[in-house]
Amino acid sequence: MTFWLVQTLNGISFGMLLFLLAAGLSLIFGLMKILNLTHGSFYLLGGYLGLLVLHRTGSFVLAVLAASLAIAVVGVVIERFFLRRFHLQELPQVLVTFGFLFIFSDLTTLIWGGNPQTMPKPEMFANSLQLGSFFYPSYRLFIIGFGLVVAVLLWWLQEGTRIGAMVRASVDDEEVARALGINVSLLFTLVFALGAFLAALGGVMGGPIVGVYPGADFEVLLLGFVVVIIGGLGSLKGALAGGLIVGLLDNFGKVFFPELALFTIFAPMVLILAVRPAGLFGRE
């Protein structure tokens, strides 16, 4: 029983990290129809920058904020100067985002080397809590809570604020939204920056759990894809549900079938694809 509880909690906490990643991927796609292949780089760069700040200042909070904001700025630059001119042109968008994925991948190896780095947990959450009959690391519980808070905030941003209403209007009909005086191009930049911010947030927060290592960019990009394929691209609900599903599948897959770990994620993805090509919460 303890085994199942611990593994389920492990899966959910990892799923929350995937949610942070997939939420950005989904938001960006929902508004701009861009499939952002650089998203994994945002995650990994966030992790490395977080480490840098953590080593310099010793403050985890500062590391999270500085890294995420810095990556949001990187996102703004990429959107403004590179993706902007390729609005709704799929192939050039793929080329540009692939290009940055490779550039960042090589740069991070160049700067931080090929060895995996570990990130210490923030002191506040370095201990374990007793949950009934067993002890569980409090940091993972914190991640679960944090993910839920972000989910609520994003939901509120989308449904309860003026900016969210503008984004929804632009998603539904970009031209009419422009005609109504909504500054769609500013929204594009904001949403892209928010997506990059969330991915970097995942990278820093995930550091103490999964580490920061070369190749993580490709790995999480793929997991992010699977999350949005299962949940439905462009849907927050889908990103949350998909994140939890993939987090759990990944965790139990690694426990039970270590040789075919990827398979436990992909088999359900294929199944959902066959039944609902647009994902659980996607629009047909």
């Binding site: 796609f29 499939l35 590179f82 080329l95 290009g99 490779f102 740069l107 894809f225 990827l262 066959a274």
Partner: protein
């Protein structure tokens, strides 16, 4: 002049002459080149075929697959495994590799073709990663990340062995040439024109009574099979296969070859492939930062040459013709 060349189905006479000269040049190459450059030329031909196979999807059918390395790698693994474990010769192992690639393409095609646009991109990429995951995880069968070493160079029987680099070069020239010839015939056939129609307007083709889904699937399987042929040739060339064959980077690289050369022209992707293979070899000799350079090339191509080299030349000619 340019316009007529673009529209008319029969290519101009100079193109035929150029082809003959090119073929003759390729036939005498082994006499002129050292083994290193001959190997480079062999790689160029293999990747030219790989890029042309993807062009059938991107340039002619309007479907951008981000997981084309899957079929390249599946065929390579199938051929390598059969040659190593069962001692099959090239006459058996190569067709088996092609069959494996075609089968995988049919299976993945059925899934991926249910979707469009960004979903299609993601799903083709994700499916190719499934194959990569199996290749690197299933150690007892595939050797995991170490791959399968010592795949023998093909032996054609009748005392004809392709162990020597020049002999193998001619083998690749023949096979890749045959593949390229078939692809040229396919895109010039009524089937090829139906694919172009689907690229331009799916709804119109549906209204005209075309079974669009079947055409798409057929194109997907054909593209996968030709990619498989390139994969088979590459495993014989390298005498080695590893999960590297299936990586995202390889799928992305072949996509770049197609777009950089000029999607929808066949000759363009072949030129793009030759250029990238050459660049990779030259740059890797000086620096380990090939991936960085590659990334920059992606962005430069998107910014400055979205129609590729062939598209650029055509625009230039069109301008000159107009003035």
């Amino acid at each position: 002049m340019t316009a007529r060349f673009l529209i008319s189905k029969t290519p101009p006479r100079w193109l035929g002459a150029l082809t003959i000269v090119a073929v003759l040049a390729m036939l005498v190459l082994p006499l002129l080149l050292s083994n290193y450059y001959l190997g480079l030329a062999t790689q160029m031909m293999i990747f030219a075929l790989f890029a042309m196979s993807l062009d059938l999807l991107i340039g002619y059918t309007g479907m951008a697959s981000l997981g084309h390395a899957a079929y390249f790698g599946i065929a390579a693994y199938a051929t390598g495994l059969l040659a190593l474990n069962l001692g099959w010769n090239v006459w058996l192992a190569l067709p088996a590799g092609l069959f494996a690639a075609a089968l995988a393409a049919a299976l993945f095609g059925l899934l991926a073709l249910r979707t469009r646009g960004s979903y299609f991109l993601m799903i083709t990429l994700a499916l190719s990663q499934v194959v990569w995951g199996v290749a690197s995880g299933w150690r007892s069968m595939t050797g995991g990340d170490d791959g399968l070493p010592d795949v023998p160079r093909p032996d054609l029987g009748f005392g004809v062995s392709l162990g020597a680099d020049a002999a193998f070069y001619y083998f690749v020239l023949l096979m890749a040439g045959a593949g390229a010839f078939l692809l040229v015939r396919i895109v010039a056939s009524p089937f090829g024109y139906a694919l172009r129609g689907i690229r331009e307007s799916e709804t119109r083709m549906l209204a005209l009574g075309y079974a669009v889904r079947r055409y798409r699937l057929a194109a997907f399987v054909l593209a996968g099979t030709f990619a498989g042929l390139a994969g088979c040739l590459y495993v014989y060339y390298n005498r080695f296969v590893s999960p590297d064959y299936l990586q995202v980077i390889r799928s992305a690289e072949v996509l770049l070859m197609v777009i950089m050369g000029g999607a929808g022209t066949l000759i363009g992707p072949a030129i793009g492939a030759a250029l990238i293979v050459l660049l990779e070899n030259v740059i890797s000799a000086y620096t380990e930062r090939w991936l960085l350079v590659l990334g920059v090339i992606y962005i430069l191509v998107a910014l400055f040459a979205p129609r590729g080299i062939v598209g650029f030349v055509r625009e230039l000619r069109a301008k000159r013709g107009a003035s």
